[in-house]
Every structure is written in C-alpha cells, then in structure tokens.
C-alpha cells in the first residue's frame, strides 16, 4: 500500500500549550509548520490547568528567580537537572510578560500589574516565608493561556491538522528522525508527514490510572511512539498524585484553593497537615500532602461511610473571594461533588495527575539518548517539550504552577533551537521505503482481527492494575506482582479487536491505538518503579522509606525493546550560579 506524503520544515505533534508556543515561534519565523492534534487545539488538556503560572515577578511579595530555582530544586527532591531549572526560572518573567502582551487576561492588582497568589512549595529567601509567585486568571489560567496561544497562532497563520493522530515516529538507519506517520481521524487516511524537525508535545499519560485528573486524550501517545522507535523513557516511576481530586470522579480541585487559604480536615475536624509539615502546612509540596492524606486514611481518620476521603474546607474565605478567585472550582464542586464550597467542604482524595518522567531532552528541547558515544547525545531532528518530555525540571516531584511555565519556556526554547538547526539542515533526508509499515501493520491488525479482546475491558484491567500496584505508596510485593500483571495486560493488548471497521471518524480505532500507547507507558512505569529502591518525591516505598543519594541520585532510562533499564547522572551544576547540594527536605 502506498501512503501519501507531505513535506514540512517542522512537524509538531500536539497542540497544547507547549506545542502551540513552539509553533508560534516557528510560524512567526516564516517556516512551514504542520501542527497535528487529536482534538481541536483548544480542547487540549492545558485547558484544564487551573491555578497559575510561576514567575518571580515580585508583584505582591519581594521575589527573584534564584529563590524560585531553589524551591524547584528542593521540590524535585534533588532529582531535577539544575541547568534546566536555572534556565526555566530565569526566563519565567519574560515568557509571562510575553503572554500578557499576546492578550492573556490575567487578573490584576490595584496597581494594574498581574495578580499573583501563593502556591505550595514556593518560598522567599531560600526556604523562608511563603512566596506569592503564581500568576493567575481566576482558576482558569490554563484555559486563558491555551486560548491566548491559539489566538496568536491564528494571527501567525499556523497550519493545524485538526483531529489527526500521530501513529509512529520515523527514523532512518542512522537513527535520525524524519517525521511521523499519522492518521486523519475523519477520513481514516494514513499519511507520512516528512519534516526536517519533529517536535513532540503530546502531553501526559495519567490515563494509565483509574483515578486521574487527566482528560481522556492523555494516553501517552508521544512517549509510546518514541519508545517503539527505540528512544528510552526517563524517570517514569515518578507520577504526581494531586492531593485534591474530587472524591469518586478524580476531577481536579486546584491547589489555588489552598493558596487562597483553604485547608484540609480529617474526620475529627483536625487540620492534620500541621503534624506533617509544621511550617508550610497545607502548602507543603504535593508529594508531601498526598502522602499525609493517604496516611490519614490508612490510619482510620478518613471521612465518610467508608472512611476513604478527606475534606477541603474553604467556606471561611467568604463567598466573595470564592466567587471572584475560584469560580471554576465552585462550579465543579457543585456539579460533581454536590457541595457548594461557599457553605460546605469538598470531599477530596489524592488522584493521579502529572508525569514527571518522559522523553529525555536537554533544555533546548532536543531529545537526548545514549546513542552512539555518550549517555546524552542529541537525536538528530527530534525534539520534545511539555509533559511528554523529561527536561528534567520537575525531578521526582513537580511544584504547582511550574507545569504551565515549563511548556512556555521550553516550547519557546525548542522553537528557537529548531530555527537554528534548520539553518544548517537545509534538506530533507532520504525517507526509507518502509517508513509507515509498522503503523500500517497495527491498523491492519485492527481491521482484520476477529474474536479478539474488548478494548474497553483490557483498558480497564490496565488502569486497575496500575492503581492497585503503583499508587501513592509503593510496596515491594505489589510492585513485583505488578510487573507480571502489566506484562500480561501487554500480551492481551496485542489481541484486541474492534467491531467497528468504518473509515469515517472511527473512535473505536482511535481508542484501540491509544491502548497500544497506554500499555507502553504503564510498562515503563512499573518496571522503573520496581527497580528504584528508595523513596524520593512522588516515589514513596514502604520497604525503603528514605532517600538514598549514594545509590539513587540518578535518572532512570527505560528501553521498551527488551524492557531494560539504564541510569545516567543528574546534572547538579547550574548554568551560572552555585549548585544546591542535596539536603534533607522538610516543609
């Protein structure tokens, strides 16, 4: 079967904040860019981010980027790469002002400057008083940002391929990346999009868990495409559980609620965070709060009939603050928890939220891998930004409001790097004849399979396995069984069947392809988690309760082909300032 081809200077897969920020840089530079997105760009998951973007603007309390850098390094439990963290924190103010110039409707202070609010893990003066660093648009910051970036891309005439799904990464015999094969969901047509630069901005994959704050589309597509093409995945054991998902549905209740003064209660009405983080209390970092909540539940102090959740109280803030600063979460609480937070607390539980690991990159957005000579060699033609990438600025735990910042800073940086690289790489490389074969084989399997397994059922098994075996706390025996169970699920995924064989907008086919991707992510997670024998950030093990810098201050690399692990050092040396050496992490 011959597959149609189109050539571009750059192809971007994913139109969330990271993809669109990069696209803007490239379109405004006059390059021919194709942006592929499974959904209309403003449906991307960035839209659901609520609380804000971190930047040391100092609009409310005195601030500077170096303090932000310290907080991010500490928040990462010292697994973050300090060069990338310095780069991000130094650029934060600039990219936020840029966004404001694009029209972002930030809330304002009386003096007309951007409104900022406190968030977990943000301090002044290297661990001192709480800092006020999160730039916000009520609790709809991600929505405002995604729409602003889309609008600016409309102005720049960026070419979007809406409702197209990336299938596989195309590499040549040297390992250089030449583009992607992709499916036009509306017509069922497969095409090769050939490019001198391919950027993945495909977002996260927390849909590997049953209880997740993520949208349905967050199925780790970019990670799986990279893994299938031989690129390792980095630090996949580190998944952030957000402390406050709505009990029973998992929908996110922003940390902004606690930033504005809300707090958590157990069944005795006790503000229990005071026991776990006497200084930062409810604004300790997310891994700390999630573990504290899980401990409360485990020790019988959970709320409700099954003693399995906690309460988030904010009525004391008053109706006016809630309506002005937290209107979106009020809407969510009323609709999904049947609780109006103006009067009563919201039932919450820690919920899978963010993937700290991903496709390994440097701070220019270039994908790096052990390749020919060293552990961090650039994969020619391949770039990744946002949640699908592991720069790594978040290390073992991400601070709230650093994810929107991450996508802006590294989206722009990758755009700039691509512009530079394309000046040197002026020609498209030769495309191998079998470029789309693997993707076509997967589609053919789905078209022809009869009496296979139901996609929804296998998917359910995958999510339940991850939830039970790889949650907030991790146990040696559960992890060991988890590796076996998820390997069994992987075998079953090979055997899935769809009954709908239509060409037109076949969502059953899309979901089956997504399951192929989810299982890659799940395998990487479980295998990496079982191997790391320490507790660091979001990876908390019952049998190894402490961080072990001697043995484990290193990044994990997972290779899909033989499920092999390798490790590489953490970059402890920043760009211009002194390193923050690991020390005990208390809040």
């Amino acid at each position: 079967m011959t597959v149609a081809r189109r050539k571009f200077d750059a192809v971007i897969v994913g139109a969330g904040g990271g993809g669109m920020r990069a696209a803007l840089q490239l379109s405004e530079a006059g390059l021919k860019v194709a942006v592929l997105s499974k959904v209309f760009p403003t449906r991307s998951h960035t839209v659901a981010a609520q609380g804000g973007i971190a930047a040391a603007l100092g609009n409310v309390t005195e601030d500077n980027w170096h303090w932000h850098m310290y907080d991010t390094v500490k928040g990462s439990d010292y697994l973050g790469d300090q060069d990338a963290i310095e780069f991000m924190c130094r650029q934060a103010s600039e990219v936020v002002y840029e966004l404001e110039h694009y029209g972002m409707p930030f809330d304002r202070l009386e003096n007309g400057k951007i409104y900022q609010r406190p968030f977990g893990g943000q301090s002044q003066n290297f661990g001192g008083a709480q800092a006020t660093r999160s730039c916000a648009v009520a609790d709809r910051t991600g929505h405002a940002m995604l729409h602003t970036l889309y609008q600016r891309n409309v102005r720049a005439n960026t070419q979007f391929f809406v409702e197209w799904m990336g299938l596989d990464l195309i590499r040549d015999e040297h390992g250089d990346v030449l583009g992607v094969s992709a499916l036009d969901i509306e017509t069922g047509e497969v095409m090769i999009l050939q490019a001198r630069a391919t950027l993945f901005a495909t977002g996260g994959g927390a849909r590997i868990f049953s209880a997740s704050t993520n949208a349905f589309i967050n199925t780790g597509d970019g990670l799986a495409m990279a893994a299938r093409a031989g690129v390792p995945l980095q630090d996949m054991e580190f998944w952030q559980f957000h402390p406050t998902g709505v009990y029973g549905v998992g929908i996110l209740i922003s940390e902004a609620v606690r930033g504005e003064g809300g707090y958590l209660l157990n069944k005795d009405g006790e503000r229990f965070m005071e026991r776990y983080a006497p200084h930062a209390k409810d604004l300790a970092s997310r891994d700390v709060v999630s573990r504290a909540m899980t401990t409360e539940i485990k020790e019988g102090r959970g709320c409700g009939r099954d003693a399995d959740h906690l309460l988030l109280k904010l009525d004391h803030l008053g109706g006016n603050v809630i309506k002005a600063r937290l209107p979106g979460i009020r809407e969510i609480a009323i609709k999904f928890a049947h609780a109006d937070p103006v009067q009563e607390p919201i039932p919450v539980v820690p919920t899978a939220h963010y993937m700290m690991g991903g496709i390994p990159t440097n701070f220019h957005g270039q994908v790096v891998a052990p390749y020919k000579t060293g552990p961090e060699e650039v994969v020619q033609g391949f770039y990744a930004v946002g949640e699908c990438a592991c720069v790594s600025v978040h290390g073992a735990n991400r601070l709230g409001t650093n994810s929107l910042l991450d996508i802006l800073v590294f989206g722009r940086a990758a755009g700039n790097q691509i512009i530079e690289d394309l000046k040197r790489n002026t020609h498209h490389k030769h495309l191998p004849g079998d470029a789309a074969d693997k993707a076509l084989a997967r589609l053919a399997r789905l078209d022809s399979r009869k009496d296979g397994e139901n996609v929804a059922q296998v998917g359910d098994m995958l999510r339940k396995t991850m939830q039970a075996h790889c949650g907030v706390f991790r146990f040696a025996d559960l992890l060991k069984q988890g590796v076996d169970k998820i390997s069994e699920v992987a075998e079953r995924v090979k055997n899935t069947e769809i009954r709908d064989k239509s060409r037109v907008f076949n969502t059953a086919r899309v979901e089956a392809l997504e399951l192929d991707n989810l299982v890659e992510v799940a395998l990487a997670t479980m295998v990496s988690a079982q191997a790391r024998k320490e507790s660091r950030g979001a990876h908390a093990r019952d049998d190894f309760p402490h961080r072990d810098d001697d043995k484990w201050l290193k990044h994990t690399l997972y290779f899909s082909e033989d499920r092999r692990l390798d490790y590489k050092p953490v970059r402890l040396k920043p760009l211009t300032v002194e390193s923050f050496p690991p020390k005990a992490r208390t809040y």
């Binding site: 959904v39 209309f40 403003t42 449906r43 998951h45 839209v47 659901a48 603007l57 103010s93 002002y97 840029e98 404001e100 110039h101 694009y102 029209g103 409707p105 930030f106 809330d107 304002r108 202070l109 009386e110 003096n111 007309g112 400057k113 951007i114 648009v137 709809r140 929505h143 405002a144 729409h147 609008q151 600016r152 409309v154 102005r155 509306e186 949208a215 349905f216 589309i217 029973g248 549905v249 929908i251 996110l252 979106g328 809407e331 969510i332 609709k335 999904f336 929804a456 059922q457 769809i498 009954r499 709908d500 239509s502 060409r503 037109v504 907008f505 076949n506 969502t507 059953a508 979901e511």
Partner: protein
C-alpha cells in the same frame, strides 16, 4: 435507562436513523457522558467527541432532549426517557453525534480573535486596572463548544454570513479589552447587514450556554458601540 440516539455512518448508511439503547447504569455513571461511554463498551461503533469530562474543553456538545448542552456536565438523573440525543443542529454531520465545525470556526477566525496593539510592548506587563480587567469577565471563559451558535436560527439560515453568538462574544471580548487598539477596524468589519445585525435577540444562545455566559448581552453591547460611533 433508555436512550434514542442519532446514527449515521456515511461509510455504510444511506441515511440517518435513530437507534434505541437500553443499558443498566453503574452508580458511578452520574453524567450523560458516563452513560454514553457505558453504551460504547457494548457498541463501539457509536461515535462522539469527548476529552476533559469536566466542562472546560467543549468537545462533547450535543443536542440532549431537544436542547444543546455538554454531555459531561449533564446529570443523567432527571433526564426524560428515552433520552433523545442528536448532533448539534445546523451543521453538517460527519458521523453519529459528530458535526463538522468548519463553518463555526471560520466565523470565529473572521473576527480576528487576538489582541491587536501596535505599540512596541513594554518590558513588563501592560497595566490594566482590576475594573478594566473585570470587563472581560463573562467573555474570556467561552470554551467554543458551539452550543450557542448552533441553537441560533439566524446562524442556521446564514452560517456563512452571520458570525453567530460565539464569534460575536469573542469580538466583544477584544472590543472590551483596554489593551486592544483595533476598535474601529473591528466595528468596521461587523458593520454589515449579516455579520452582526442578523442577531434578532431570540436569546437561544444565552439560554443554552453551558458556561452560563451571555452572548446576547455582548452582542447588544457591540450594537450600542456601533450606534454611538454613528451619532
């Protein structure tokens, strides 16, 4: 629970038909989207869009018992049975509950939905008072789900000429922004028998907006701006 759902797959159907489903919901299936996903586990050929499942992305807009809304924030409890589900009215159907949104987005793009300010940007933010910023409340929150425009008879008759409530709400979002300098240009574009003035204040838009926004009020504000400048 009983459902009657619009089906059409151009790959195999000559014309659309309504299909009945009867399913047992689990206690966790609280919203209409949960029920649709439950149906999809039995019949994977039912196609619909969905993404955030919390009312912020706008993917799963559809016509529910005769009224446009988002499946993910519509509780199943209390819906009249059989629950009749159809694609958003007035747009071509691609398949089942999925409509072709090209015309809708074309109108949105036509109003130049981006801030226009030709002054060189300052080193920090452009200042805006909290009162000026408050002017954007009720406008910037639009999720482009198309519930409003596809509930509007004027948009049904002239989808190629009338901007429609969603596009006009966004037009006003930029007209109302103290940082935007293109007021005259924006009003010039809208001063046309169709683009703006096809709004006959029927109010369907405001009535169905799942985010509780008021496109009709935004449209009347544009009309007022238009009148003021002609005096």
């Amino acid at each position: 629970m009983k459902f009657s759902i619009y089906r059409f797959d151009p790959d195999k159907d000559e014309k659309p038909y309504m299909q009945n489903y009867e399913i047992t919901l689990e206690p966790a299936d609280r919203m209409l989207l949960d029920a649709l996903i439950r149906i999809k586990t039995v019949d994977d050929s039912l196609s619909l869009r969905r993404s955030c499942r919390e009312g912020v992305c706008g993917s799963d807009a559809m016509n529910i018992n005769g009224r446009n809304g988002l499946a993910c924030i519509t509780p199943v409890k209390g819906l009249r049975e059989p629950v009749e589900l159809r694609p958003l009215p007035g747009l071509p159907v691609i398949r089942d509950l999925i409509v072709d949104m090209t015309q809708f987005f074309k109108q949105y793009h036509s109003i130049k939905p981006y801030l226009i300010n030709d002054d060189p940007p300052p080193e920090t933010e452009r200042l805006q008072s909290p009162e000026e910023r408050a002017e954007l409340d009720g406008l910037y929150e639009c999720i482009l789900c198309a519930c409003c425009s596809t509930a509007c008879p004027s948009f049904w008759w002239n989808p190629d000429k009338y901007v429609g409530p969603a596009g006009l709400l966004q037009a006003y979002r930029f007209l109302a922004d103290s940082r935007d300098q293109a007021t005259a240009e924006r009003l010039d574009y809208l001063e046309d028998p169709y683009r703006l003035f096809r709004c006959h204040s029927i109010m369907n838009c405001t009535d169905v907006c799942p985010k509780g926004l008021n496109p009709m009020e935004a449209i009347s504000r544009i009309k007022t701006m238009m009148t003021k400048r002609t005096i």
